[in-house]
């Protein structure tokens, strides 16, 4: 897998984003520690994808700042520090998957890490086909491989389990946790399925209506919702 990256704390302070008259994110504040997997959960329209795109520097912020080791990051340095894997994309559909992966590895300067990523994500069945001919889950794994190759301290993954079957979901969960632990990278993972979120995440950030409705471990969220021993689903419903 990619080499271990220097440990850096990412801080998001008062982030806000508006589309026309619609406030999509407001006062979003949280931290992510090196090697941590932060699960981003929330109902549809909570602003999860917008938050990730703002963090990746693909959308301009209306307010707030993102800091790394206490220094504010410009949009350009955001793109240098974070890599964002969007959901629902189907890039380079006409090309062979192995060509796409090889080319992206070269462009990301991560050719050395390629064999391990291929093995870890069991891409053997994927690489021989054209991207357009891959199933949703296979395509997801291919794109996940590209993200894991990106040598950035922070990875932002939008719905990485969407389209994966149970076995693949478990494999990817294991790979992501192992990746964070071994490389010291932090992962911010937007997840729709709460079961998957609780499995993969060290901590959770619950977004609701563009605001942070709660953050911390499941235990901390239970306390905040005043529901001791409740499931994540119950906590989610209570807080959102």
């Amino acid at each position: 897998m990619a080499a271990r990256l220097p440990a850096r704390m990412l801080e998001v302070r008062g982030l806000a984003k508006r589309f026309g008259g619609l406030m999509v994110l407001e006062g979003v504040t949280f931290d992510v520690a090196p090697g941590e997997v932060l699960g981003l959960i929330g109902p549809n329209g909570a602003g999860k994808t917008t938050l990730l795109e703002c963090l990746a520097g693909l959308l301009p912020l209306d307010a707030g700042e993102v800091l790394m080791d206490g220094r504010t990051l410009s949009p350009r340095s955001l793109r240098a520090a974070l890599f964002y894997l969007p959901d629902g994309i189907s890039p380079w559909a006409e090309h062979r998957a192995s060509f796409v992966l090889d080319t992206m590895a070269e462009l990301l300067g991560a050719r050395d890490a390629l064999p391990l990523v291929r093995r870890t994500l069991t891409l053997g069945d994927v690489l021989g086909g054209r991207v357009a001919s891959l199933s949703k889950g296979q395509r997801k794994r291919l794109l996940l491989a590209i993200a894991l190759l990106a040598p950035r301290p922070y990875l932002l993954l939008d719905e990485p389990f969407d389209g994966l079957d149970l076995s693949q979901t478990r494999t990817v969960t294991r790979v992501l946790r192992q990746h964070a632990k071994e490389t010291g990278r932090a992962l911010v993972v937007s997840i729709h399925q709460l079961v998957d979120a609780s499995r993969v995440s060290d901590r959770l950030l619950l977004l609701s209506g563009g605001r942070v409705a709660g953050q911390g471990t499941l235990e901390a969220l239970r306390e905040r919702a005043d529901l001791p021993g409740a499931s994540l689903e119950e906590v989610f419903l209570a807080l959102s």
């Binding site: 693909l58 964002y84 629902g88 380079w92 006409e94 090309h95 462009l107």
Partner: protein
């Protein structure tokens, strides 16, 4: 700049181009298009050379530039104007629509480099499309036809610059528009706009006509007439750069609407400034073998001794054929010797049918002396100018007469090659480029 990224980026773009069926279709169509243009040109040329037994045209009038090169490559102008813009649109718009752009925007390879590679791949790819045209010229040569290197190269340069412009236009439209179809409409609108400008400004003089001379169609015509103008080369390059710069301003991520508009404005202002500078460049060369765009050498030498400013006032309407005649046989040639030549058109109507009494007069001013001459014939105008400038008329020119290059023989195998083998080879190459499971 990360030049090590150029190779993988180029590989990606080449694959995108190969995966695009439109590019194969375009390649396939070019064989018959060029073939038809070439065979028609060759047949007309042979007729004019007396192939069918009738009297041959004057040999001096038979130039392969006009007779073969320009019509054969005319097929490319059609393809570049109407079909080629879809390729850059496909390359840029597909990235936007499939989400590939979301990933490439995050690469360390800067966006300008990515766009430059796109442009380079498109233009290089187009060189492959030139194969039918070059084959046609090869067949012409092998049949004993004549080609003058500089004039042929100038026509090719004009076409290459035209492709660069079309690539920039397509990239800009695809970057700005929401979808590929909107981008295609935008590109077509720009093309039709330049045609309209060409039409409206024809013979009007002033800024409008100066602008119309810079439209791709008009500029290409200048190259086809065998004039290599630095100003036109620079204008084409600036417009190409402008197209890709607009695409960059539209695709760079993380900008607010205001910041994006400011970038577009800055790019446009810079391009406008560069265009103004480029259009002022005066060097130009007549690269034709028959020196059709130049006065005889002795006259050029005599004219160059005139140090005073020259201005011309033309009282001829835009649609008057004498005005076109004057432009071609006198004013264009004078401009090459006197870049600061001032020409004023003072006719008030388009046709000249109901103009006042002084209609048809052409006034020349050299320094403080002025005189009128109605002729549009080169020797008469030159004599008039010498008189005004007090410069002795040179002795007869020693320029060797242009011999002309009549050819009655028709190249063999052109039909088989361009209508049969080329489409077949293109089809086979397309099949070979596909993967076996498809």
């Amino acid at each position: 700049m990360r030049f090590r990224d150029v190779r993988p980026l180029a590989r990606l773009e080449v694959q995108e181009l190969l995966a695009c069926r439109a590019s194969w279709l375009l390649l396939l169509l070019l064989g018959p298009l060029v073939g038809h243009a070439f065979l028609t040109a060759v047949s007309l040329y042979a007729e004019a050379s007396g192939a069918s037994g009738g009297p041959a045209a004057l040999a001096q009038g038979l130039s392969p530039l006009d007779g073969i090169v320009v019509p054969t490559f005319g097929a490319y102008d059609l393809a570049v104007t109407l079909l080629f813009p879809f390729l850059p649109i496909r390359l840029v718009a597909a990235g936007k629509e499939s989400g590939a752009l979301r990933i490439t925007q995050q690469l360390e390879a800067p966006l300008p480099l990515q766009l430059a590679v796109k442009g380079a791949v498109l233009v290089s790819g187009w060189l492959i499309a030139w194969i039918p045209g070059l084959l046609a010229l090869f067949l012409w040569r092998s049949a004993g036809g004549h080609l003058h290197g500089p004039e042929t190269a100038t026509v090719l340069l004009g076409h290459l610059l035209r492709v660069g412009f079309a690539a920039g236009l397509g990239a800009a439209c695809a970057a700005v528009a929401e979808s590929a179809s909107s981008a295609a409409l935008m590109a077509l609108s720009v093309t039709v706009g330049t045609w309209a400008l060409d039409f409206v400004a024809a013979g009007r003089g002033g800024l409008l006509e100066a602008l119309a001379r810079m439209t791709p169609t008009a500029a290409l015509r200048t190259f086809e007439h065998g004039t290599l103008k630095v100003s036109l080369v620079l204008v084409f390059l600036t417009l190409t750069f402008y197209g890709f710069a607009l695409a960059w301003a539209a695709l760079v991520p993380g900008l607010s609407l205001k910041a994006r508009l400011l970038r577009h404005l800055a790019v446009s202002v810079a391009a406008f400034g560069l265009l103004l500078l480029a259009s002022q460049a005066t060097p130009s060369w007549d690269v034709t073998e028959d020196r059709r765009n130049s006065f005889p050498r002795a006259d050029e030498a005599a004219l160059r001794t005139i140090r005073e400013p020259i201005s011309v006032t033309v009282r001829l309407a835009p649609e008057d054929p004498r005005r076109l005649d004057l432009e071609r046989s006198v004013l264009d040639k004078l401009r090459r010797i006197f870049p600061s030549l001032r020409v004023v058109y003072s006719a008030s109507s388009r046709s000249g049918l109901f103009e006042p009494d002084h209609y048809g007069e052409i006034w020349y001013r050299v320094g403080t002396r002025s005189g009128m001459c109605r002729s549009t014939t080169e020797p008469i105008v030159l004599e008039h100018l010498y008189g005004l400038a007090g410069v002795p008329k040179p002795l007869d020119s020693n320029d060797p007469p242009y011999p002309g290059h009549p050819l009655t023989k028709q190249p063999r195998g052109a039909t088989r090659l361009l209508f049969g083998l080329w489409p077949l080879a293109t089809g086979l190459a397309w099949i070979a480029s596909r993967e076996p499971w498809e």
